[in-house]
Amino acid sequence: MTVLMTLAACAIGTLLGVLAGLAKVALGPTLRAPLDAATDALRSVPLLVQLTLLYAGLGILGLPLNPFTAGAIGLSLYAAAYIGEIVRGGILAVPITLRKAARGLGLTRRQEYVHVVLPVGLISALPAWIGVLVGVVKDSAIAAVIGYIELLRTAQIIITRTQEPVIVLLAAGVFYFVICYPVSQLGARLEARFKL
Amino acid sequence: MIRVEKVHKSFGTLDVLKGVSIDVDKGEAVVLIGPSGSGKSTLLQCINGLEPIQRGRIEVDGTDVFAPQTDLNVLRRRIGIVFQQYNVFPHLTALGNVTLALRKVLGKGRAEAEAVAMRQLERVGLGDKSHCHPGTLSGGQQQRLAIARALAMEPGYMLLDEITSALDPELVGEVLTVLRDLRADGMTMLIVTHEMDFARDVADRLAFFDDGLIVEAGPPAELFDSPKTERLQLFLRRLTQQRT
């Protein structure tokens, strides 16, 4: 259940994020402004507040989605904001020397982007992207707060019943750790690999 | 004097110095030349204790550098070293770079330290740049700053480790001029360099390093004009090939 929501959020968030990042690089200042503002807001407001707002807002509009979907949407947007900035940074960080080399070989502007800028830019953004994904895994716990039964909440319910919080919490903690640690190690290794 | 006796040094499994012996008397200028990786720079960093040695002995003014009771911090006040990558402190002004050790190591007061520092900065031609941060200075200026910083401690010996190798060609001259002036003032120097004209001019003695050993040593005229060993001959031939 949680796992599905997390995976969905990762996938959708990445998709939206990449599109947003590309848009930020490609668009002119006036069109970029709302995108930048949205990113700014999503990164400067606690996830708890965002999710609560989403849930409440949907309720107002008369579309009470199930917690799974609401959580997935909230996490996706949150992740997309960060991924957008990462993609934008990665693309802008492609050394100008590389691009000049591409044009010097006779590649058109479009070819330069498709074959040089995008691949290099996106790959350099890989480690940071993995970091965001790890964050999504952890933040799925917050998504639980708006009414979704997931691991931690299950743990909470079990706590009040069995009065053995340590074991349950430990299990939950180990679960998260076992997922996050290897992934962040992978990210670190990728980062070392791609250091220019 | 600096006395290096049969020094062996390795980095892990890589042997860099394989039994090097050399002396530098007070007032001498000794220049080390040789191919990259032959161990010259490493030797310099062993002399002031930055790098440990596995075998052998290094003495400065009678003090064994690697004896356990030797206070390296005190020893290093007598030895000035300038590196290839300048290593100036980017967060301090030029003046700050020079006064730091004067105040922290020699315990001088602020006014006295600044006076000494300004003298050295002017000596290397940076008098008007005392309040600049190294980031705004050229490579040659930063290297001259590094020299001033070392000189301010009034060392008995100056170790100069390929200090022009990282500079653009047009900036090399200004640094070499400072070194020549230093030599004229009688400073004892141990220099590692690739600048052969400079070596010929300044050196009292030359030592040719190859693969961790001193292969040939003697007055510069002798080594340049009539090299005895084949390796030195090969090295010199390669140099002249580069020039043409």
């Binding site: 407001v45 790890v134 933040d139 706590i159 340590v166 919490l169 962040s184 | 290093r76």
Partner: protein
């Protein structure tokens, strides 16, 4: 839409909300400062090659970074209960954030320390400076410049994450909003407003950091 927005309810709660914001800021500052203090020994311990200190520090840092912040709060709030230690929401959130901040900050410091070339140390020691002096006068000032913005971001992050304390009953900005929304059912209005307040706080911190940086570091 049959719903009509009633923001004046939020306005009436303003004093309590402001008090909540104070709590939020207080916890964020305290845990950041505390986290920084703890992070220094952690970062130094992690730079060693081996030993108990290194493993211990690594365990702390990795645990802090690879488990959810909410989980950490739960661990202090519920988990310690099993050992008979019953912390209130305030203490639990603070300790959890302290633990968390220390871990993340230690990584930032470690990166900063690694970013300063070892040549700087060589040059400093060659001048005769003791290791202690070399660190204080040469290494640390450079590290501070490198880690300044990452630390600022960490502070903003902990400011925002303090909101999780509300889940266990903390009366910070989010907590106050939660209490009010459960009685007035004006969830949307309340959370929109506190969302804006958080936003302003975050931007305020960033602005302050920029101004301070300009004055502290002149190069």
């Amino acid at each position: 839409m049959k719903y009509d927005l009633r923001f004046w309810v939020v306005w009436e709660a303003a004093p309590d909300l402001l008090r909540g914001a104070q709590v939020t800021l207080l916890i964020a500052v305290a845990t950041m400062v505390g986290g920084l203090v703890l992070a220094f020994p952690l970062a130094i311990a992690r730079r060693r090659d081996h030993g108990l200190l290194r493993s211990g520090a690594a365990a702390w840092v990795e645990a802090a970074r690879n488990t959810p912040c909410l989980f950490q709060i739960y661990a202090f709030y519920f988990g310690l209960g099993a050992f008979g230690i019953f912390l209130d929401a305030w203490a639990a959130t603070s300790l959890a954030l302290l633990f968390n901040n220390a871990g993340y900050t230690a990584e930032i410091l470690r990166g900063g320390l690694a970013a300063v070339s070892p040549n700087q140390m060589k040059a400093a020691r060659s001048l005769g400076l003791t290791e202690r002096h070399a660190y204080l006068a040469v290494i640390v000032p450079q590290v501070l410049r490198i880690v300044y913005y990452p630390l600022t971001n960490q502070f903003i992050w902990s400011l925002l994450n303090s909101s999780l304390g509300a889940i266990v009953g903390l009366t910070d900005l989010s907590g106050v909003a939660m209490v009010y929304q459960s009685s007035t059912f004006r969830t949307f209005e309340f959370f929109l407003v506190i969302g804006a307040i958080y936003f302003l706080m975050a931007k305020g911190v960033l602005g302050l950091a920029r101004v301070s940086a300009w004055r502290l570091f002149r190069y």
